[in-house]
């Protein structure tokens, strides 16, 4: 196979430029000395320092992290449960409908999800704040978790659970002692995915956030409307870093698990 050709190289460069040029510019300008975003005046990390002094941004960051942790944890629990039932349960009426419905929010416009959430919270008289954002984020993130976990459960040998039951486990013990440890890599990558999704979200958060709680994306968005400052660039760079780390570690965890298994199997084959 030919590895390098001018066509391949051009296609690759064009594609990645298209994808990453805006972000690269943002990251570069976050280290700009000048207050003017578009004028390069030398390297500096002063905007990162300034960011640490900005009370409003720090509060928003704290809210965002709290929301991300709570909602991704809740989404992981609910999403794993949903995946487990949909993959494991015997055929019941409307099972196909249910499994289709769990994927629907993935393609639902976020504006609609946000709006319906807002209407619900107003309807039941829930004050908008951290709690409402957590609930809203849980709702859409659990779909992603359940997709990740159910794809693992499909290939899970059911006789392992039966063996656990056979050896005296209650169904819950069988899940806790056998199923969960084996599907743990999928559950963890589901959690990381939910975490980064919650960190990123602007649309749903802006519908469900109240004056008492603002997340970082909302803060950035409203700040940008008053003009882009290097501070925003610095903040965005940090967020890009966190999300990148999250996504990469999610894929590494699942990859490592399969690699480890492969290595062990080869070792076993050698004797």
């Amino acid at each position: 196979m030919k590895r390098f050709s001018w066509f391949n190289a051009t296609a690759l460069t064009l594609g990645f430029t298209f994808l990453y040029l805006p972000m690269v510019i943002l990251v570069i300008y976050s280290f700009n000395e000048s207050k003017l975003v578009t004028v390069w005046a030398g390297f500096s990390i002063k905007w990162y320092g300034e960011l640490l002094q900005n009370e409003a941004f720090l509060n928003a960051a704290w809210v965002t992290i709290k929301v991300a942790i709570f909602s991704s944890t809740l989404a992981t629990v609910l999403g794993t449960m949903a995946a487990y039932v949909l993959v494991r349960a015997n055929r019941f009426k409307g099972r196909t409908l249910f499994s289709g419905m769990i994927y629907a929010p993935l393609v639902m416009p976020e504006v609609i999800t946000g709006l319906s959430m807002l209407l619900l919270f107003i309807g039941i008289g829930l004050d908008r704040g951290v709690l409402t954002i957590v609930l809203a984020h849980t709702t859409f993130a659990m779909c992603y978790v359940s997709v990740v976990v159910s794809s693992r459960l499909v290939s899970f040998d059911r006789s392992l659970e039966e063996a656990a039951l056979d050896l005296g486990c209650s169904p819950w013990q069988a899940f806790r002692l056998v199923t969960l440890p084996i599907i743990a890599p999928a559950v963890i990558s589901g959690w990381l995915l939910a975490f980064t999704l919650s960190l990123d979200d602007l649309v749903i958060a802006s519908f469900t956030a109240g004056p008492s709680a603002t997340t970082l994306p909302i803060k950035i968005f409203s700040a940008v409307r008053l003009g882009v400052s290097p501070e925003i660039n610095a903040l965005s760079t940090i967020m890009i870093a966190i999300v990148t780390v999250g996504v990469i570690s999610a894929s590494l965890i699942s990859k490592q698990a399969s690699l480890k298994q492969q290595r062990d199997e080869q070792a076993a084959a050698r004797g």
Binding site: D157, S159, L160, E162, A163, A164, L165, D166, L167, G168, C169, S170, Q173, L177, V178, P181, I182, Q261, D264, E265, A267, A268, G271
Partner: protein, 445 residues
């Protein structure tokens, strides 16, 4: 052979069965997996469920394990109705076809898994696991993970894990399916050995008839959710109750014909078959006279004490083996059934045929190894003429495909007891296929 050591609880009316299936039916939607099945299985049995895939054998086993519940009927284990007892509350353990070893636990922890659920003291668990590791010769692998050991070792871990809780009943679902032939044979004997040592009742599901015959005390041949025949391996092989069983177990020649009560027009012979076996030879050493003693007796003592009686010179009675291999004499015992099956051949004489089979359409089943093949007409109750079509040399035996006059194909199997033996019979040869009057069985269905 001492009679009292024969293990046959199914013939003992005082014995109560460990497992009772009573009119059990299991449906999956429209599909009937088990059809009104009634069967007893006794303690310490090694019971094999044998049948093609889809015959319901696995369903039967999964119902014993508690993974399926019968649609109707009851299953009792040790007298207790098990219909509403979940798998984790049964004194039954199962060895899964895929072994189902927990990949995240070491071999030691896999075996200890069931014991830890049973609130056992730590020391007791350790002792039991060590015992199991020893039984299955896995001591060296205790700390390894399941994917770090070979297939045969995994199979032994699965066995050790299912035996660790000392279940009343162990279920084995195609336990040796994943092993290669040589390892499978070794493991079969290992299984029998362990079954004997632990005294556990084993129920094994298999589609491999050789495996079932090797390990089981009784074999149940299943088809379409029913048990067709339950018997010891030799009875299943030598006395199948239907052509299905005869055909499923091993190789068989089937000849269809019309049964007819044998008339006693054959010359009645005074046969005393029991006589030979009743002669009791006193072979304790006794002093015999030497040459000088004989001379003294004959010349001097005989007028006084009478003629010397020579000890009876007699061959020992034929051993059981000799009896079975002795060529049947022309004097075929009367009675039984003659099977008219072809206009070109004499009727097949089946002296063990039931008189009630007179006039019925019957199938004569005979195993290939019970057919003898020769170039000249042998002195046997049944001899049929034909042509050798094909010879399959299998090393230990050769199988001859013989087309009898009229077109019926039969297979005859001859042991290659001598190297390059039986070269005298070859393709296209005209041969006689012969067999004794008791070598086969007549089947009505």
């Amino acid at each position: 052979m001492a009679q009292e050591t024969v293990f046959e609880p199914w013939n003992d009316h005082n014995e109560s069965p460990l497992i009772q299936f009573k009119n059990v039916t299991k449906r999956f939607g429209d599909f009937i997996a088990i059809d009104d099945l009634t069967q007893d299985i006794y303690a310490k049995e090694f019971f094999a469920l044998l049948g093609p895939s889809g015959c319901g054998k696995t369903t039967m086993m999964r119902m014993l394990g508690g993974f399926e519940t019968p649609t109707s009927g009851t299953i009792k284990i040790a007298g207790q109705d098990m219909n509403n007892v979940p798998p984790n509350k049964r004194a039954v353990n199962m060895m899964f076809q895929s072994y189902a070893l927990f990949p995240h636990l070491s071999i030691y922890e896999n075996i200890a898994f069931g014991l830890r659920r049973a609130d056992m003291a730590k020391g007791a668990i350790d002792a039991r696991v060590t015992e199991m590791l020893k039984l299955t010769r896995l001591e060296k692998f205790a700390q390894r993970k399941p994917h770090q050991i070979s297939g045969g070792q995994r199979q032994r871990v699965a066995l050790a894990r299912s035996l660790a809780k000392a279940p009343k009943l162990l279920l084995l679902d195609e336990p040796l399916g994943a092993l290669d032939k040589k390892l499978r044979q070794d493991t079969q004997f290992e299984l029998m050995d362990i079954q004997e040592k632990t005294g556990t009742t084993f129920v094994i599901v298999t589609h491999d008839q050789e495996e079932a015959m090797t390990v089981a005390s009784r074999v149940a041949v299943m088809d379409e959710g029913r048990i067709i025949q339950v018997a010891t391996p030799d009875a299943i092989y030598e006395a199948p109750n239907s052509t299905y069983v005869a055909d499923f177990i091993g190789d068989v020649n089937l000849i269809k014909g019309q049964g007819e009560l044998r008339t006693s027009n054959a010359p009645v012979q005074e046969v005393e078959p029991e006589q030979t076996t009743e002669i009791i030879i006193d072979d304790t050493p006794r002093p015999q006279p030497n040459k000088f003693g004989e001379w003294i007796h004959d010349k001097r003592l005989s007028p006084i004490i009478g003629e010397r009686i020579e000890p009876i010179k007699q061959l020992p009675p034929p051993s059981a083996q000799e009896l079975s291999t002795a060529p049947a004499s022309a004097s075929t015992p009367e009675g039984g059934i003659a099977l008219n099956w072809s206009t070109e051949h004499p009727a097949i004489i089946v002296s063990n045929g039931d008189e009630a089979q007179d006039g019925k359409t019957l199938t004569f089943a005979i195993r290939p190894e019970k057919l003898n093949i020769s170039r000249t007409k042998p002195d046997a109750p049944n001899a049929l003429q034909g042509t050798v079509i094909d010879i399959a040399y299998l090393g230990n035996v050769s199988t001859y495909h013989v087309e009898l006059t009229g077109g019926q194909m039969v297979k005859a199997q001859m042991a290659n007891s001598r190297r390059l033996a039986r070269r005298d019979i070859t393709w296209e040869d005209n041969v006689w296929v012969s067999f004794t009057d008791t070598a086969g069985v007549l089947l009505e269905r």
